[in-house]
Symmetry: C2
Subunit: 387 residues, 2 copies
Amino acid sequence: MTPPIRGFAKSEFGVRTQRAQAKMAKKGLTALLLTTEPEVRYYTGFLTRFWESPTRPWFVVVPPIGNPIAVIPSIGAHLMGQTWITDIRTWQAPDYDDDGIKLLAQTLREVTPLRGKIGLADEMESHVQMPLASLRAIETMLDGRALIGDGGITRDLRLVKSDAEVDKIRTAAQIADRAFDRVPEIARAGAPLSKVFRDFQAQCLNEGADWVPYLAGAADRGGYNDVISPATDAPLRQGDILMLDTGLVWDGYFCDFDRNFSIGTPNAATQSAQAQLIDATHAAFELAKPGAVISDLFHAMNGVINPSGKTMEAGRLGHGLGMQLTEWPSIIARDHTVLVEGMVLTLEPSVNLSGEKIMVHEENIVIREHGAEFLSTPQKGQVRIAG
Amino acid sequence: MTPPIRGFAKSEFGVRTQRAQAKMAKKGLTALLLTTEPEVRYYTGFLTRFWESPTRPWFVVVPPIGNPIAVIPSIGAHLMGQTWITDIRTWQAPDYDDDGIKLLAQTLREVTPLRGKIGLADEMESHVQMPLASLRAIETMLDGRALIGDGGITRDLRLVKSDAEVDKIRTAAQIADRAFDRVPEIARAGAPLSKVFRDFQAQCLNEGADWVPYLAGAADRGGYNDVISPATDAPLRQGDILMLDTGLVWDGYFCDFDRNFSIGTPNAATQSAQAQLIDATHAAFELAKPGAVISDLFHAMNGVINPSGKTMEAGRLGHGLGMQLTEWPSIIARDHTVLVEGMVLTLEPSVNLSGEKIMVHEENIVIREHGAEFLSTPQKGQVRIAG
């Protein structure tokens, strides 16, 4: 129950940087330009909830050799100065005339030779976290250097977690386990769903979450229609199935799993659906070993929950997990990523019930040398009874 | 204490759309392409915490006449179907071969004449929430239609809040008021700062917050160094000044203000700094009427806190507030936005203390016909005593 130490050894950031630089050399890239929270944090350790403010852009440049360079608003200089980064270049943002653009372009020109290629994440699940006009301006200020796709360098590195990263995700999952165990204290007929959401988040915090960026869920008879809606003020009713799906954070790392609860005794259809969902996660869990591919996990789960091969609205049966609630890859038939030790995944099957209702179940696992290990405490066969 | 009704009348979304279309016509734009959470929500009412997942892109197209069109992953179809939007086009995301790109390009071609101009937010505080490679692909699929900057259309509309929006922000601020009143229950010498952060977030939830996307703060002797750091596990000490700055959400709208607390009796320097900060917010408050400009507020505050005109690391003394923790504009000397009724702002002065320490104070206001009105309950002159 004692959480691990916060932060990382400086050497971990050095290893991440050197691995990126080796991949950059192979791809002919002379720098990486990072603009989003997880990319910046991955190489620097810069952890703050201040990204909630969209005002100021933040940049990190990974040069071909040497340590990353931070090009950031002065408001972040003190916090960045507590990381392993020593080359910190700041401007006083927001600056309506030049919000860091000249400073960033100058830094890119400095570390990149003429005709060099600067890599920027441009593939699925990525975006560029700066104004489009700024990006277009920078492209004109590079004196012939090109800004091109990074070929997934950072995405591929983040896919495989270190032991220290896995420990943080496990800590988050254990906090959620304890909060889910306490749902019977707050979920009963008559309680507004919005109050259950508030109380559950407070339980997550009381059990040790640093914050609770994500909670979704639903409550309805014989399943629910939707897994991404916010809570309404409608009260829980006898016979409802309540689903709570949380992504809480400990030291910057997420868990992401859900649990289904019955308000009163569950009916046979929902019990059977829950059993099927659990069977599906175990079918994937058994196959989740180094050398297997993601599509194996998809087919193992889909064979249990969806033998007819119907279209699924969710679009996938799980995904990567770490510094973000959802990460690369997606557990779909089209994904042939080979599993290696250190990957962290969610297994998230869903089943269709009558009346367009669904039920969803989710567990978190890590791939180890000889097979998978649960990070969430895997649920047993029955729908939990809450109210 | 009874919160207002959740959601908005459908007519409010119609008015927002028609206002955008009038501005589009003036600027010669034949469509808007929206990609970020606040833009999509502003025109549709689509409210979900699912944006925490970066996997799937979400698009809304505002045509030159008629209602917005949603081009979204099928997982969101049910929730979008509960808004006023009826033209909802979906694909099963994630699709590694075409993640909505053809469907979006087809929709843009359909609503926009040949050689039409499609506006995309590209200025400060904005970004494009889709993979850069997808954006570049779409540009090649528009048969001569251009994707250009939107000239700040959505930003300018969002700047002025409706009464219903102001009511939601006020509700959020009143929840934070009550949570701040209860800080003495949780902050005392020996309590780890990380536990104070957890407990404070739980108090926000208990007082009615839907969620707490933002909490930053610090605790140190005679002020603090930083206002964006996450909490450490270090215990509060007698003589510390504790600052908590929260952006909590009610029905999709933020408050954003802080309070300073003393663990034990505050010293004269921090008392004097607090008084100066409060004087600064009142100096700006008095001027905050329709017809005044943002730089007036800056100079009013800066004259109180910074008569020597020293460089400020924070870069600004407040900002807009609404669907996001921070919104356009920034309270800086360079901003000459004219205040109009319905703008919601934070007033956020900071002062320098000895030893590179600072103190920050923040209130939330709305501009009314004859002057400003506080949304947060304005703090009186003294540092609050917590522990």
